[in-house]
Structure formats: C-alpha cells, structure tokens
C-alpha cells in the first residue's frame, strides 16, 4: 500500500472567492493521489448562516501564494513526507483550473435536536465529496503531478466556518 496522509483544515472562515483547503505538488517525480475529500460542519458557536457554494478544482501549471499552512498527519509515522508539496488554506491559487464538481453548503451552525442540512453536514459519510477510485482499482484516483493542485474553492457565501480533510497517497 502507498504511504498515506490526512491533511486537515480546521475552522476555516468562509469568504467569497477563497481557497478553503488545498494541496499542491511541485515535485518532478513524486505523484500525489487524492483519495478522498470531505467537508464537515463543526461550528459550535452561533452564527448567522448563509448559502455557500463550493467548487472542487484541479489546477495545472499551479501555484499557491500566501495562505495558512497545515501539516498533514501520516497514517504511519515512519512515512517520508512528500518532498515538495504545499498544504494550505487562504492562499491564492494560480494556474488553469478545471471544476470537478460543485457543492451547495449551509454555513449555519448545527444545533442539538435539530435536523436541517446544518446538522446533516456533521455526519462524515454523507459529506465525502470526492472518492474516485476508492475501493475500485479500475478507476484512477485524482493525481497531482508536478505543478498541479487540488483546491476546495468557495465561490459564494461569507459567514461561518468549514472543516475539510483531504486523504492522499504518495507514489
């Protein structure tokens, strides 16, 4: 099996036109494969929620400028980290983007005894937005070759926060 990491982007504030979570690979040889991406509503403080719309994008000729770095957690602590990868949110992505899918999102906080989309957004299996090839070796996972990135991009909505986790492997 391939060396695997989970990058977790916690409590990232929604803003219009914002990178909510990203992974960029700059290495000429290593390939990072995006296995799963999940969005979660873990906001516990009250907020005036709004409608958000998120795009999952893959960039080629990619760059990311600025932003807040995160450190992925290796699934085995002996893993050797990718040699030239960047993981961040809020950084400005560049390059040529392709939209893989869009996702509607409520940014309102979940509440106990509630059962609206805010609460359903807290349930992990229901909020996986990308898992191509997971459990099916016939299907390619999304690959990040040199100067390619995956970005969870918020196009609309500017209240509340989002958690994202990105599970990826290195080959």
């Amino acid at each position: 099996m391939a060396q695997t990491w989970t990058a977790f982007y916690q409590g990232v504030a929604f803003a219009v036109g914002k990178n909510m979570a990203s992974v960029m690979n700059s290495h000429a040889v290593e390939i990072l494969r995006i296995r799963r991406i999940c969005l979660l509503n873990n906001q516990v403080a009250s907020v005036v929620g709004v409608v958000c719309q998120i795009e999952l994008r893959r960039y080629t000729g990619a760059s990311i400028v600025g932003g807040v770095a995160v450190v992925p957690v290796p699934h085995a602590s002996a893993n050797v980290a990718p040699a030239s990868a960047v993981y961040n949110h809020a950084g400005v992505p560049g390059g040529v983007s392709a939209v893989l899918r869009r996702v509607y999102r409520s940014s309102d906080e979940p509440i106990i005894t509630g059962a609206s989309n805010d609460e359903i957004e807290t349930i992990v299996p229901l909020n996986i937005i990308w898992d191509a090839g997971y459990g099916d070796s016939n299907v390619q996972a999304l690959a990040l070759r040199q100067d390619e990135s995956v970005v969870v991009w918020n196009t609309a909505g500017a209240a509340g926060t989002l958690d994202t986790w990105i599970e990826f492997t290195k080959e």
Partner: protein, 180 residues
C-alpha cells in the same frame, strides 16, 4: 490490476428548459471502433443558490445504441491524471438532438427547487454527493460489469417530464468513466 485511464465529465448548471422535445441534460457518446468507454459512476447535484420556482422533474438514465448527438453544448472532461490520452472519438455535451435506440436503465424523480440553509427537505438532500450517485454498477465489485459504451453507443441523462414551468431550475451532473 492497473487503473484504467479515467475522466470526470462535469455538466454544471444545465437548465431544465426545453420539454418539447425533452432535453439531454448530460451525455457521453463513443464513436470509436476499438476503444471502449466504461461508465463508472453518474452523480447529480442540486447546487443551485438563487431562488427559483421549482417543481418536479423526471430524469431517465438511458443507453443508446446506434447513437447520434447533434448540436449539443460541449463540455471537456477532466482527466484524473494529466498524462491520460483522451478518447479518440467521443462527444460530451448537453442539449442538442439525441438519436438511436434508447434503453432505459432507471428513472429518477428530482426537485428543482433551490436548497435553503436550516432546512432538510428533498432539495437539501439533493446537495449531498453520496446520496445522489444514480449509477455505480460494478464500482468496487469486480463480478459486475460497468456500463460499457462501444462504437456508436451513448449514455444520456434525459429530462422527460416536468410539472410546472419547464424553464425553471438547473442541474449539475458528473459522469466518471474509463477508457480501454
């Protein structure tokens, strides 16, 4: 087993307009004599964020043989690996005129009302990706064939019925497929 070259074709915000005749909301047509495209998964999604007078829509997932697709609006599939070599003779598009012999795989009833936050109705359930995969035959189960598109065969998500104004609402569709 090595993974096959894979693409995701994405058809964003396709209007539900045009019930006379009914409308192709998303299609993949393979015209190549040797290449086989296999449809791994099809997902639909309500990603609509502005108010709309929504209503019922009935979608049919169809496979066509002897297929044609004329005058559609093209989309460009995204390769899962940028080194993939695109299918040599495939068409990806929505709208336009579909032709051939249709075989119905399943129907899906859909609300085209916009989702709203702090709600959990049909429209909001349509926003969750895992709940809205409408085709995944053989995914993770190698005893089962995925739907194959041989020469002049097409998969098409077809709008066949609407209650209320046909001009309202939009649909996002993604089709994940491989080439062999």
């Amino acid at each position: 087993m090595a993974a096959k070259q894979t693409w995701t074709a994405y058809y964003p915000a396709v209007s539900f307009t045009g019930l006379d005749p009914p409308k192709n909301m998303a299609a993949v047509l393979n015209a190549h004599a040797a290449e086989v495209l296999r449809i791994r998964r099809v997902g639909i999604d309500n990603a609509y964020t502005t108010a709309v007078t929504g209503n019922l829509r009935l979608l049919e997932l169809r496979r066509y043989t002897g297929a044609t697709l004329v005058g559609s609006t093209a989309v460009t599939p995204t390769p899962h690996v940028t080194a993939n070599v695109a299918p040599a003779a495939a068409t990806y598009g929505y709208a336009g005129a579909v032709g051939g012999v249709a075989e119905l795989l399943r129907s899906v009833l859909w609300s085209c009302e916009e989702p709203a936050y702090q709600n959990l109705r049909w429209e909001e359930l349509e926003t969750f990706v895992p709940l809205n995969i409408i085709w995944d035959a053989g995914y993770g189960e190698h005893s089962v064939q995925p739907l194959a598109l041989r020469q002049d065969e097409m998969i098409c998500l077809y709008l066949t019925f609407a209650v209320g104004a046909p001009g309202s609402g939009f649909l996002d569709t993604w089709i994940e497929f491989t080439k062999e």
